[in-house]
C-alpha cells in the first residue's frame, strides 16, 4: 500500500465528513474539526459533499459508484489535503477508485483526488509529525483497527497517539487482526456470518475489560455497537477524533 508522507506544517485542509457521520455521527465530524483546528489547520467543509462512492463500489455497481466519485472530484477542488475520519473512505479514494476508473478518461483527476486524501490518525502522526497528544483521558481503552487500514500507517499511528495520552490505558485483545464483520453491504447480505464475526470480536474485546472501544472507523463501531446494544449489553464506543477532542477538553485546551 502507499506510504505516508509528512506535510511541512498545518495549513488549509478540506474535511470529508463521510456519509455515516453526516447521517448518524455528527459529533465525530465535529470532533474532527476541533482536533484539526487545535493542530493549527484551517478547516474548510465543502458543503456539496455527499459520499466517497464505496457502498456501490463494493456491491459491484461501478457505474453508480463512478457517478458519486466524480461528484467528489467536483466538490473537493484545489490541492489542499483532504482529511477524512475513516480508513475505509480513505482507502476507497486512493485505492478502490483506481480500480473502477481503469480505462476511464478522467482517471487522472480521480488519482489526483486520491493522492490528497489522508485518514485522520495517519495525517496527525505521519503527516504533521505529532507524536504525543496533550490533555487527559482517564479510561481503559481497547483500540479496534479497521481492515481498510491494513498495510497503511494509520493504525500504528492511532495506537501511538492514544498511548501517549495522560491517564489513558490501552489494552490489547485477542485476534485483533480479524475483521469485525461489517464489510458494508456484506452486513445485510450475509447477516449470519456478519453477526457471528461481530460477536466473536465483541467477546474478545470484553475479555480485555476496557471502559470503551475506540476505532478510526464509525462503520465498524456502528456494527459492533449495534450488536452489543441489541443483545442488551451496550459497550461505550468512540471514534479516535472524539477521544482526542475530549482529552483536550479535559485538559482545558479547547477554546
Amino acid at each position: 500500500m502507499r506510504s505516508s508522507e509528512p506535510v511541512a506544517r498545518a495549513g488549509r485542509v478540506q474535511l470529508m465528513a463521510t456519509c455515516l457521520c453526516d447521517a448518524f455521527y455528527d459529533d465525530v465530524a465535529a470532533a474532527t474539526v476541533q482536533v484539526l483546528e487545535h493542530l493549527g489547520c484551517e478547516v474548510e467543509f465543502p458543503a456539496g459533499q455527499t459520499c466517497c462512492g464505496q457502498p456501490a463500489f463494493n456491491a459491484g455497481d461501478w457505474p453508480a459508484s463512478r457517478r458519486v466519485v466524480r461528484h467528489a472530484v467536483r466538490t473537493f477542488r484545489g490541492d489542499a489535503p483532504i482529511i477524512v475520519p475513516s480508513g475505509s473512505c480513505a482507502a476507497m479514494l486512493f485505492h478502490g477508485a483506481l480500480l473502477e476508473f481503469e480505462g476511464e478518461p478522467d482517471r487522472p483527476e480521480v488519482e489526483a483526488l486520491g493522492r490528497r486524501v489522508r485518514e485522520l490518525g495517519d495525517f496527525i502522526v505521519n503527516g504533521l509529525g505529532v507524536k504525543s497528544w496533550p490533555g487527559r483521558y482517564e479510561r481503559t481503552v481497547a483500540f479496534h483497527r479497521s481492515c481498510h487500514t491494513r498495510g497503511t500507517e494509520s493504525s500504528p499511528a492511532a495506537a501511538a497517539l492514544l498511548r501517549s495520552i495522560q491517564g489513558l490505558r490501552l489494552v490489547d485483545f485477542e485476534e485483533g487482526e480479524q475483521c469485525c464483520g461489517f464489510g458494508g453491504t456484506f452486513s445485510v447480505g450475509f447477516p449470519n456470518i456478519s453477526s457471528s464475526m461481530g460477536n466473536l470480536k465483541l467477546g474478545h474485546v470484553r475479555a480485555a475489560r476496557p471502559d470503551a472501544l475506540v476505532s478510526g472507523d464509525m462503520s465498524c463501531l456502528m456494527h459492533l455497537g449495534g450488536l452489543a446494544e441489541k443483545a442488551g449489553e451496550p459497550l461505550p464506543m468512540f471514534h479516535l477524533a472524539q477521544v482526542l477532542r475530549d482529552a483536550l477538553a479535559n485538559g482545558g485546551l479547547l477554546p
Binding site: A23, F24, T50, C147, C179, S196
Partner: protein, 462 residues
C-alpha cells in the same frame, strides 16, 4: 427476504463442525505467522518476490509451456495436453489402458478433484485409491474435502474411528496413532498391488523439466516406488521458470500452509527411473490440464493463477471460519476459491457469482498469501462483472437511485433532514429492506442527519 447460500450454509453448520473448523483454521494461521516472522525479518519482501516470479511465469506461459514440454520430452517423459476435464480423464484412462492397468494409487492432487477423476475411472473399471490419509478417509465416507490442505478439517477422531469400523478396518479405536497405523497397514499393500501411481505437481520447472511434489506422509513416494507407471496431472499455471526460482517458493509454501520450514518430502522428478534403479516407473506421463485456466488467463483476474495452493488464505479468512469449506460448493473454497471457482466455470459464471460476495473485503487473505495475490481487488472485479451481467444478488440493495441522490447536493441535504422519519417508524415498516435486515441483529443509531452541517454553519457565523 432471500439470503445468500453461503450465509445460510454458515447458519446451518453444526456446532461441532464449526468448532473444528475455527480451531483448526486459527491454529494453522497462528503457527504460520509465528514461524514466518521468527525466520524472516521481512517476510513481505519474500512474498512480493514470489508473487513477481509467478506473475511473470503466467504472463509468459505461451513460451514456458512449450519449453517445459521440450525439456520433459528430452528427459524421457511423455507429455499430454487436456483442454477440458473430460479430455484429462480420457488421457489418464488412455495411459492406463495402454498398459493394461486396472489399479491406480493416487496422491493428493486438487486437479483430480476438479476433473472428478476417481468417479470416471471407477465407471471404466479402474480401481482408484486415495493414499493421502485425509483423502483416504474422505473417500471411505463418500464425503468431500473441506479444505485444500487439510481435507478432513471438519471431522473429528470419533467420526473417523466410526468410519474405519464401518469399513472393516478394525474395531472402534479413536486414538489418532491407531487411526494412522491402520491406514498405513491397509494402504501399504495396495501400493504394491497397483499398476500405476498418479500425482499432481506443485511446480513444473520449465528450464529443467522437473515436476516438484511436496508431501508430508510419503504417499507420493510410495506411488513412485511401488508402481511402474507415473502419471502427473499438472494445471498449466504450475509453471516456474528456473530451478532457482523454487527458492522463494519452497521457502514460503510449507511455512504458509503447514507452518513447516519444508514439508517432509520434496520430490524433484524429471523422468522415469534411472536405468540402474530397480524400483520405480518405466514410464512417466505429464498431462498439462487447461480446464478453464486459459480463460482465466485472458481476463482481468489472471493474478489468481499465481496461487500455489498453500491454504493460508483459508486459515485466516473469518468468513471461511464461520461457513466451513463445503459452503462454497466447490473444489476450491475460501478466498482463493471465491475467485477461482466462479471463473473456472467460464460461461456458467452465474452459478457461483455469489462466492465473491461472501467477503467483508478485510484483506487478511492478501496479507498471508505467499505470492501476494490481491484477492480483495479480484473479488471486487468479479462483483462488477456480476453486476454487468445482470446477475441478481439477494440481500444487497440496488444503488442506482442512491448514486443519483449522492451526486445532487441539494437532494442529499434534503434526504438528511427527511431521514429523521426513521426514528419514528417501526423497523418492520421501513421501506428499505437493507435497514430491516440490519435491525434483525443490530440496533440502528439515532438519526442525526443535518446536525453536523447545522453545527458547522452556526460556528462559522460566530
Amino acid at each position: 427476504m432471500k439470503f445468500q447460500p453461503i450465509d445460510q450454509a454458515a447458519a446451518a453448520l453444526g456446532a461441532e463442525k464449526r468448532a473444528a473448523v475455527q480451531a483448526g483454521s486459527k491454529a494453522g494461521h497462528e503457527k504460520r505467522t509465528k514461524l514466518l516472522f521468527e525466520h524472516y525479518s521481512d517476510p513481505d519482501r519474500l512474498r512480493r518476490l514470489a508473487g513477481e516470479i509467478k506473475q511473470h511465469a503466467i504472463e509468459n506461459l505461451d513460451s514456458y509451456l512449450p519449453a517445459a514440454e521440450a525439456r520433459l520430452l528430452a528427459n524421457g517423459a511423455k507429455v499430454h495436453w487436456a483442454a477440458t476435464a473430460g479430455d484429462a480423464c480420457a488421457a489418464v484412462l488412455g495411459i492406463l489402458r495402454s498398459r493394461g492397468a486396472t489399479k491406480l494409487v493416487k496422491a493428493k492432487t486438487m486437479v483430480s478433484e476438479e476433473i472428478e477423476l476417481a468417479a470416471f475411472l471407477e465407471k471404466h473399471g479402474i480401481e482408484c485409491l486415495e493414499t493421502d490419509l485425509g483423502e483416504f478417509i474422505v473417500q471411505l465416507d463418500g464425503d468431500h474435502p473441506s479444505h485444500i490442505i487439510k481435507p478432513i478439517l471438519h471431522k473429528n477422531r470419533r467420526q473417523i474411528a466410526e468410519s474405519f469400523e464401518r469399513h472393516g478396518l478394525g474395531t472402534y479405536d479413536d486414538t489418532p496413532e491407531e487411526i494412522t497405523r491402520r491406514a498405513r497397514r491397509f494402504l501399504r499393500h495396495k501400493y504394491l498391488e497397483a499398476d500405476a501411481g498418479l500425482t499432481g505437481a506443485n511446480f513444473v520447472v520449465a528450464e529443467s523439466g522437473r515436476i516438484v511434489v511436496v508431501t508430508n506422509e510419503g504417499n507420493s513416494r510410495f506411488c513412485l516406488a511401488a508402481t511402474r507407471c507415473h502419471i502427473v496431472l499438472a494445471g498449466i499455471e504450475k509453471i516456474v521458470p528456473r530451478d532457482r526460482d523454487l527458492g522463494p517458493l519452497l521457502n514460503l509454501l510449507a511455512r504458509s500452509g503447514t507452518a513447516q520450514q519444508l514439508t517432509v518430502y520434496t520430490e524433484f522428478i524429471s523422468g522415469p527411473r534411472s536405468p540402474s534403479q530397480p524400483d520405480g516407473p518405466d514410464e512417466m506421463h505429464v498431462i498439462f490440464v487447461d480446464n478453464g485456466r486459459s480463460e482465466v488467463l485472458a481476463g482481468d483476474c489472471r493474478d489468481i493463477l499465481r496461487c500455489i495452493r498453500c491454504g493460508a488464505c483459508l486459515n485466516v479468512c473469518p468468513v471461511y471460519r464461520q461457513a466451513g469449506g463445503h459452503a462454497y460448493r466447490s473444489v476450491y473454497p475460501g478466498p482463493v476459491g471465491a475467485v477461482l471457482s466462479p471463473l473456472m466455470l467460464g460461461g456458467r459464471f452465474s452459478e457461483k457469482a455469489d462466492l465473491p460476495k461472501a467477503s467483508s473485503l478485510c484483506g487478511a487473505c492478501n496479507e498471508v498469501c505467499p505470492v501476494n495475490i490481491p484477492i480483495p481487488d479480484l473479488l471486487l472485479r468479479l462483483r462488477a462483472r456480476a453486476q454487468r451481467e445482470g446477475i441478481s444478488s439477494p440481500g444487497v440493495p440496488p444503488f442506482g437511485a442512491w448514486s443519483v441522490l449522492a451526486s445532487r447536493p441539494a437532494a442529499w441535504r434534503a434526504a438528511l433532514i427527511a431521514g429523521r422519519a426513521i426514528d419514528h417508524i417501526p423497523t418492520r415498516l421501513l421501506p428499505v429492506p437493507a435497514l430491516r435486515a440490519w435491525e434483525n441483529t443490530r440496533t440502528l443509531p439515532p438519526w442525526r442527519g443535518g446536525e453536523f452541517r447545522r453545527w458547522w454553519e452556526k460556528r462559522r457565523k460566530r
